[in-house]
Structure formats: structure tokens, C-alpha cells
Symmetry: none
Subunit: 198 residues, 4 copies
DNA sequence: TATGAATGAGCTTTCATTCAT
DNA sequence: CATGAATGAAAGCTCATTCAT
């Protein structure tokens, strides 16, 4: 059991499940899924491996639960987008909100980005692919030129990459985030204008 | 051991090293680095695990050797770019040649893309980061607006993503590749024009 | 928790102990003792593992209690047999009643038959061995020929085996049971006649 | 590595596979399959658990290999029996030879007898059942009375039981074995005579 | 009369690696 | 140029059991 500096046992009141999710995500994002062992997670939490299995049936289930909890906003976003007319404004709003969603759950998406091979084999892989397809269907016009379709995909990828790769570009993080968003919005706008000339 | 239909052992004429690299890359790209075991590689080649160790000191070294062999063109490209004036034409040429290099070594770059977490911890991680930085230094003007810098990075990412993610966009592969290139070139061009108005 | 169709909790009126025994025996007989986990038993009953420990001190104790409850008739039978003269009629009656006892507690005896290695290490192992010895002492004449002693043991084993192995012999179950009994009685009779010629 | 009393390392010349089989069978027979861990087997042999996995793919495979090696004679016996006319002499010979086969591979059959629940779930379960059926088909006349059919099955069971249960019957082991065989032969003979009256 | 939360010991299995031959 | 045989470390997972509530 966890012992604080004054020697008393830490109360855990039933937040252990949440703590497992937090630590797991942190380690998964830091080292990758396969390189993170349950032993490591347990040690950080000062519980035994078996305790993890009280709360989750498998290692994969820990990840799935984190994924489901943190990607609900994106699910909602897609639902919202489906109900809107596919105007330029909608598309821009999608990009903006998606950018926000990525920012809010940054560690998870860094993990997804950096562990694609792993994710692909896991249960969340398909779910995620479906989501991305859903997003694309909203911002891409099916009869747009190939280049314009790619501009839209590129916009999404710019948002993704923006989260992590830009780390070694100099500049204020907040400003960088805004610039990333601007470029993405611009790409979607170009694509829309290409297909629907004024 | 591999036995042909007439019962004789297959000739391998000292190309085993090459065959190991080929199979390893194939499996790494398909399943990820950690999920690919040396046993698996050895079995596919019909040799023992120990044989792998005759040709390579460690598992990581197999990957390193593949990486070094296949990314030499990119190293050369950067060397070439450094010696050129940073004109729009140079930048466009860099994007074009980089696109070609990615296409030529597709499996390796798919692997790099999908196993970033793993690659980061490995020896090739730093090398790769350096290369990317090298490329960026050529196509990015240091005094460009933040958005234009990001457009350049986005161009590179579009090329990367273009290789793999576009798979489930419909269209002729060759055409798609060209469209991807066009978008990337366009991004770099926009960035350049933004910084050097006619 | 178990919830009936009208949403009320199932009444269990303090029969949980009995239900544990029932389910445990069922699973032990079906899958073996070691392969049956307390989790499994608890899940089937829709209680927690800890609940099992309220009613029984250990896993072994569950088995012991089942064994004791279900083998009392056999204990009584031996007691009765000991008080009888060791005539042919007594022996035949023992065989008949033992057969009946086995039939009445079939799952338990199938379990005993199929998990001898486990039972041997458990507390009930010795008890059971003692019982068998008790039975043998009644139907075997100590000065009988070795073959006749074996015929008696064989009679008991025929009864045991009859319960389970005969499953894949075709025929009406009831008839098969009677035939098994007949063969066992016959063996004991032969043994008796061999030792006490008319 | 194994160290002898004079401190020299023991040569193992490639008999390790055999030694694994021997020790495994010994422990399986002594304690049961599930209660015998690979750690235990490895320790007795003074090798690591991983060494076991060099020679066998799984724990079950160790058992399977032992089973296959040791029951070949019985397979042969059945093959032989199938080719013979189903006379009384053949049946008696089958019983005799089966008795011999059981004696030769006693530990394996004690294991099978005492771990039926386990064996049933394992790959060898079906194989064994098939063998027993094969044997029965030879010694049982399909148009025999139910009791006579049971006598034949009882004969086989007497042989099985004879191996292990008779341990606590007093008498010279060799003599006991012969008596067991006699009873079994007698049962088959009675069954035959019941169906084919002189 | 039970549950929620956890533990410690152990399991089977896999892996990268080594080395004498 | 390669194999056969093995190792040490670790992994994911399960189990019987405990105990405060």
C-alpha cells in the first residue's frame, strides 16, 4: 500500500480506476504501448499488478477505456457535423472544433500518432479509422478534384502533426497552435473554393 | 532448411544478409518493430535465429542497417539542397525529389510513420530527426511568418501521410501520388510567396 | 446481482450455502477441481468471491462439505454391512445398495472418478479410501483366492465405471444400469461361491 | 547447468528432450498435470523453463509427445486385432497383450486413470477415447446381450484398475498382476460363451 | 449477509541474446 | 556460414485468499 511521507496510508477512496487510466495514458504516450508493462503502471501507483486486473480485464482494456472516455467529444463533433449543411462555414467550424478536441486530449492523440502500428492491431484501431472517415466525409466534397480532397486530408494531418512535431519549431506554443489552425482552415477553404467557385 | 523440389538445398550465394534485411523490413512494416520477433524473421528465411546473429549484432542493428541503406538518397538530397540557393525553384525541387525518395523506399517510411514511439527510442530516431530538420532548414525561411513555416512542415507531412493514409481514398494510385505532390509543392510555393512577395 | 424480470432482486432466503454447493459440484464435475475457479462459481451465482468465503473457509472446504453431505448414505451402508453376517445375501445387498448410492449422487462420484489425482491430495482422499476399504472388507473374504478378491474389487469398479464410461455404449440408460448391477452382483457371487463351495 | 557430485558439469549430449519427457511423466503421474508446473520440471532437470520451450512448444505438447511415444504399442495392438477373426482366442490374446502394454507404460496409464478430467480437455483425450473404442469393438460382439457387453468393458477396467488400486491389496505384485489378468480373461470368456454357446 | 478492493504467489509463455561446435 | 541448445529476464494473466466496511 501507498505510504505518505508521514507514514500514514494513503486513502484511495475508489479513484483507483481513474488513477490507473491516468498513469497508463501517461506511460503509453511516453514510451509506447508495448514498451509499457503492467508492472510499471502498477509500481507507479504503488499497487500490485493484480489490482489492475481487478479494474480492467486486460491491458488492452485499459487503453480502450481511456480512448473511449477521451474521444467522446470527437464522436459528438461528428454527429453534429453530419446534421449540418456542408457549407464552408461548417467545414471551418469542424476544423476549429477538432483542433480544440485534439488539444484537450493531447496525450491520447500523441499516443495514437506515434503508435499507429500498435493501434492498428488493437480494438480501437477500427473505431478510430471510422471516426477519421466520418470527419473526412464532412469536409470533403465527393466530387471535388483529387488535389482538393487531399488538401482536406492534409488539413486534418496538419492538425495532428501540429500537436507534436511542431515542438521543435521555435515560438510561443499558443501562437503556434493558432498558426496551425489557421493553415488547416486555409487548406479546407482553398479546397472548398476550388470546388464551389464564387 | 529450405529444400527445393529436387531435394537439393537452395543456393543462397552469400545474399543472406540482404534477405534478412528484406524480410525484416517487410515484417517491421507490417506488424511493427516490437511485435516482430527474430524467431519470426528466422522462420521466414528458413534459418535459425543464431544465423541472424552472424550477420547482425542485435535486432536493432538490423533495423539500423536497413535504415542506412534506404535513406542514403535523402542524405544526398539534403547535401545537395544545402549547396543550392534557397530559391523557390530549389524548394520545389526538394519537395519533388523527397517525394520520389519516399516512394522508392515506401515500406521503410511507412514503418517510420507507424512506429514513431519505437523509432524515437532507437538509434535511428535522432538521425531521422536530424534529417527532417535538415530538410526543413532548406525549405523554411527563418524569417517567414509562423503560418508559412507551418505550411512547409505541412508539405512534408502531406507527403508522408500521402503514402499511407490515402490508401482508402478512391482513385488511381499514380494519380493520387501526383496530386499529393502537387498539394505539397503548392504549400511550399504559398509559403515562399508569403515571405517574398513579388 | 441477479435481477428478475420485474426488476426485483431474487429472493435467496439463506439458501446460498446450498446453492454454492450445487454450483460448485456441477462445475467440479464438469471441468475438474483445479480448472474450476472460485470466480467462476461466484459469477454463476451472481455473488462475489468474498461471499463464498463467508460460507466456507477455503475452496477445499466447499468440496469437503459436498462430499460429506452426499456420501453419508455410504457411510451408513458400511455401518450396516459391518453388523451383518458376511453371507452371500449380505454381499449382494451391499452391491445393490452401493449401486443405488452411486446413482443418487452421480455427479459427485463422476467427479471422484475423474479427479483421482486431485482427490488424493485433498482431505477427502483418505476418507474415501477408508470407505472403499470398509466396503471391500465386507464383500471380500480374507482367505479367498486372489482372483476372487479381485473379482470383488472388479465388481466395485464395474459399478463406478458403469456410471460414466457406459455413456457411449448404446442402449436405454435404465437397462444399462440394471445390466451393470447384474454383472457386479454376478462377480461377487462368483467370488463367494469360489471360496464357499456348496 | 547440472553439476555432479565431483563438481564437473554433466554432459547432456542431446538427450535433454528425453529427460524432459521422463521427468514430466513422473511428476504428472505423481501430482497430476495441473499441479505440476514447468518450473518444477525444469528445476528437477537443472535447466531453465525456457529450455523446455526449446524442445516443446507448450506444456500440453510435452504430455502429447509422451503419450504418443508410449501408446504406440497399443495402436499396433488394435491394428493387429482388427485384422484377426473375432474368435475367443483373439479376444483373450487382446486382453493379454493389452495387459502387457499397460504394465510396460504403467506411469502413463496411472496418470490417465487419475487425471481423466484433465485428459478429457486435452488433445490426447479424443485419441485415447478412440483407442478404447477400437479395443472394445474387437472384444465386444455387437449382438451380445447387454450384460455381456458390460463384462467386456469391465474386463478392460479391471486391467486398468488392477494397475493402481490393487496396491493396497496384500500379496506378491507379480501374482496379483497375473490374477488380475485371469479375471479379465475370464470376463471376456464368459461374455463370448454367453453369445456363442457351444 | 455480503461486497469492494486488493494482495502475493504463481502460472505459462515469449523474447533477445550467447556460445560451443 | 550457420546451427543446436540453452539462458535470464520479463511479460500478461489468474488464483485463492483477506479484510475493512
Amino acid at each position: 500500500m501507498s505510504v505518505t511521507m508521514d507514514g500514514t496510508k494513503q486513502q484511495r477512496r475508489g479513484n483507483t480506476r481513474q488513477r490507473i487510466q491516468d498513469v497508463a495514458l501517461e506511460l503509453f504516450a511516453e514510451q509506447g504501448y508495448e514498451k509499457t508493462s503492467l508492472r510499471e503502471i502498477a509500481e507507479r501507483l504503488d499497487v500490485t499488478k493484480a489490482a489492475l486486473y481487478y479494474h480492467f480485464k486486460t491491458k488492452e482494456e485499459i487503453l480502450v477505456s481511456v480512448f473511449e472516455d477521451l474521444t467522446r467529444p470527437i464522436e459528438d463533433l461528428i454527429e453534429w457535423g453530419k446534421g449540418q449543411p456542408h457549407t464552408l462555414e461548417t467545414k471551418q467550424e469542424i476544423v476549429r472544433r477538432y483542433h480544440q478536441a485534439l488539444t484537450d486530449a493531447e496525450p491520447l492523440f500523441r499516443f495514437m500518432q506515434e503508435n499507429q502500428a500498435t493501434v492498428r492491431e488493437l480494438r480501437i484501431g477500427d473505431t478510430f479509422k471510422d471516426r477519421m472517415r466520418g470527419l473526412r466525409n464532412i469536409i470533403i466534397d465527393p466530387d471535388a478534384a483529387l488535389t482538393d480532397q487531399i488538401r482536406c486530408i492534409s488539413a486534418l494531418f496538419t492538425l495532428h502533426a501540429g500537436m507534436f512535431v511542431m515542438q521543435d519549431v521555435e515560438g510561443d506554443p499558443q501562437q503556434k497552435r493558432e498558426a496551425v489552425l489557421e493553415v488547416a482552415v486555409d487548406l479546407v477553404t482553398q479546397a472548398h473554393r476550388g470546388t464551389h467557385p464564387a
